[in-house]
């Protein structure tokens, strides 16, 4: 029995395409958890990264927090949260967000710091307000790097969101956790390959976003 055979078995079983444990439902749940976690992580990481990067202040403490956060094991955190908070969405979201904030925050900060200072100086000298400098001078140039931070965060979230299944939630992790429990390896492999495909789709999505939002004048340099 090889992996390809498992995959073929899994996807050709029509039972896997309907109902509350069907692929569409699990996929939707997985995407939903991932989007929420990415949204929260971006809402924390982007503004802090943009502002600290623009002002150049707080870089050291930022690096420290990020390193500490990276050292936390997601699964351990999940168990801890489950013990503290019980079942539900919150114990899942916290580890995912903790996982995703550091790459977003650090990359955004670095992206802003690496912007050539002379256009910023020129913009300030011509009387541009600081907020406008941030959004209209620095951000467009920092965007490719910022998007790459969001992309790695998104991919980590997509692969880690499988842990939701451990606290009785849905998502593609269901197939892996249940498959392991039932010794149904077809299911395990099927679930894992769906996660991999979703990660690839995420990559493609960020590639498309970069194509659409990054100016051709900037794109060339990266």
């Amino acid at each position: 029995m090889n992996v390809l055979h498992f995959i073929q078995q899994f996807f050709s079983d029509s039972a896997h395409w309907h109902g509350y444990d069907g692929i569409p439902t699990r996929l939707r749940e997985h995407v939903q958890y991932s989007l929420i976690a990415l949204g929260i992580a971006a809402a924390i990481g982007l503004p802090v990264g943009l502002v600290t990067g623009h002002t150049g202040r707080g870089g050291n403490s930022l690096a420290l927090i990020a390193t500490a956060a990276r050292a936390l094991p997601s699964f351990g955190l999940l168990v801890l949260m489950f013990v503290l908070l019980g079942l539900g969405h919150l114990p899942v979201m916290i580890p995912l967000v903790v996982l995703a904030v550091p790459p977003i925050l650090v990359t955004t900060y670095e992206a802003m710091r690496s912007v050539d200072p002379s256009p910023v100086d020129a913009a300030r000298g011509m009387g541009m307000a600081e907020s406008r400098i941030l959004f209209h001078v620095e951000l467009p140039v920092a965007l490719p790097l910022i998007l790459s931070g969001l992309r790695s965060a998104a991919i980590q979230i997509v692969s880690t969101a499988t842990i939701a299944a451990y606290v009785s939630l849905g998502g593609l992790g269901r197939y892996i956790v249940d498959g392991l429990y039932q010794r149904n390896y077809e299911k395990v492999v099927g679930g894992a390959s769906l996660v991999a495909v979703l990660a690839l789709v995420t990559l493609g999505f960020f590639w498309a976003v970069a194509r659409l939002t990054v100016s051709p004048g900037v794109r060339r340099g990266h």
Binding site: S118, A122, A123, G125, M126, G127, A129, V137, V141, S215
Partner: protein, 376 residues
């Protein structure tokens, strides 16, 4: 007028970058700050648009303290050009230039029209409008920087080493272009450079600064070259200031000889009539009046002088517009020791010897101090 009134800048680390600087920057002229690296030129310039706040002293524009105005209003009334142009790499050339008009609330179409007009003014091909900065050469980027600074037609232009990062030939082009633009627009320009040649070439007045942020001399370039205030300024001006000073005396006063000039189809009588004992050579011109070269009278074949057998005439100088420095240079480089003067159309207007140029220099020097006193 921009008045800098006993301004001192002390950085938090204790460095005194500018020390009790006082001077008046005249309107509609180019004032150049020049001095060795680290002498406080950039600090001085950036205090004028409040990128840096003075520790002591005041800066007044038309009698009004610049601290009284909202900082971004002040900055939008001053064009700002920096060394590496500082273009926005994500914006096209035309949108870079339109930046300040857009900040001032102009609609996009009007701002772009204005930007297109400025591209012409600074000598940029309109085809570059839709390009991005990385697609331009350093010199072109610097032109865009100047156009962007001029876009909202500010009365004041601040320029910090704008041409220092480009090669000498491109730099000369940019300097000439700036002088031409200034002739048309008459801005109050404050220009920082470490290059004394650049300062002398483009400055209406030049402020020489010394390390420690003190003013060593503030004078028109000709006066600087004639009468350096002290050994520091003299040293900074370099060894050939005497020659460079000649740039400020027009060649138009030079008496030209028109006798020793013949056309390429001159007859024997014409050649004989033109040859004089004081001039060992005759200058032969083409039928279009342009110089071909020098020849001794007895070697010239009447009716069909062979241009290939003439002695080169070197670079001619334009009598009406160039300086004694150009005339002297032509005379020195000419194999015969005679310089050829031409009009704007390139036709020969006469010839002049090294001796005559030297006499003109002596009398110009003798007259100069009186002229300068009269000018003050």
């Amino acid at each position: 007028m921009i008045r800098i009134d006993s301004v001192t800048k002390r950085y938090p680390d204790g460095t005194v970058a500018v020390d009790r600087l006082s001077l008046d920057i005249p309107d509609r002229a180019i004032t150049v700050f020049v001095g060795p690296s680290g002498c406080g030129k950039t600090t001085t310039l950036r205090m004028i648009n409040r990128m840096i706040e003075p520790s002591e002293g005041t800066i007044l524009i038309d009698g009004k303290d610049i601290l009284k105005e909202p900082v971004n209003t002040l900055r939008r009334s001053m064009g700002y050009v920096i060394q590496n142009a500082g273009l926005f790499q994500h914006r096209t050339i035309i949108d870079n230039i339109a930046t300040v008009p857009r900040l001032l609330g102009w609609d996009k179409a009007r701002a772009r029209d204005r930007a297109r007009e400025l591209m012409g003014r600074v000598g940029l091909d309109p085809a570059l409008a839709k390009r991005y900065p990385y697609q331009l050469s350093g010199g072109q980027q610097q032109r865009v920087g100047v156009a962007r600074a001029l876009a909202a037609d500010p009365p004041v232009l601040l320029m910090d080493e704008p041409f220092s990062a480009v090669d000498p030939i491109v730099r000369k082009g940019l300097q000439d272009e700036l002088l031409r633009i200034q002739d048309e627009l008459g801005k109050t320009i404050v220009f920082v450079t470490h290059d004394i040649d650049e300062a002398v070439k483009i400055g209406t007045k030049v402020a020489v600064m010394r390390t420690g942020g003190r003013l060593a001399q503030f004078a028109p370039p000709a006066e600087l070259l004639t009468d350096p205030a002290d050994a520091f300024v003299e040293d900074f001006l370099g060894a050939d200031r005497g020659i460079r000073r000649l740039s400020f005396f027009p060649a138009a006063g030079l008496p030209l000889l028109t006798t020793p000039v013949v056309a390429v189809d001159a007859t024997a009588e014409q050649i004989a009539a033109r040859a004089t004992p004081d001039v060992p050579y005759l200058l032969v011109t083409g039928l279009d009046g342009r110089p071909l070269g020098w020849g001794e009278p007895h070697t010239l074949t009447a009716g069909r002088i062979d241009p290939a057998r003439l002695i080169g005439h070197g670079r001619p100088f334009e009598h009406a517009t160039e300086s004694l420095r150009a005339a002297l240079d032509c005379a020195v480089l000419s194999p015969t020791g005679w310089a050829v003067a031409v009009g704007a159309d390139g036709r020969v207007t006469g010839v002049v010897s090294q001796q005559t140029v030297a006499e003109a220099i002596r009398s110009a020097h003798a007259a100069a101090p009186a002229d300068e006193k009269a000018a003050r």
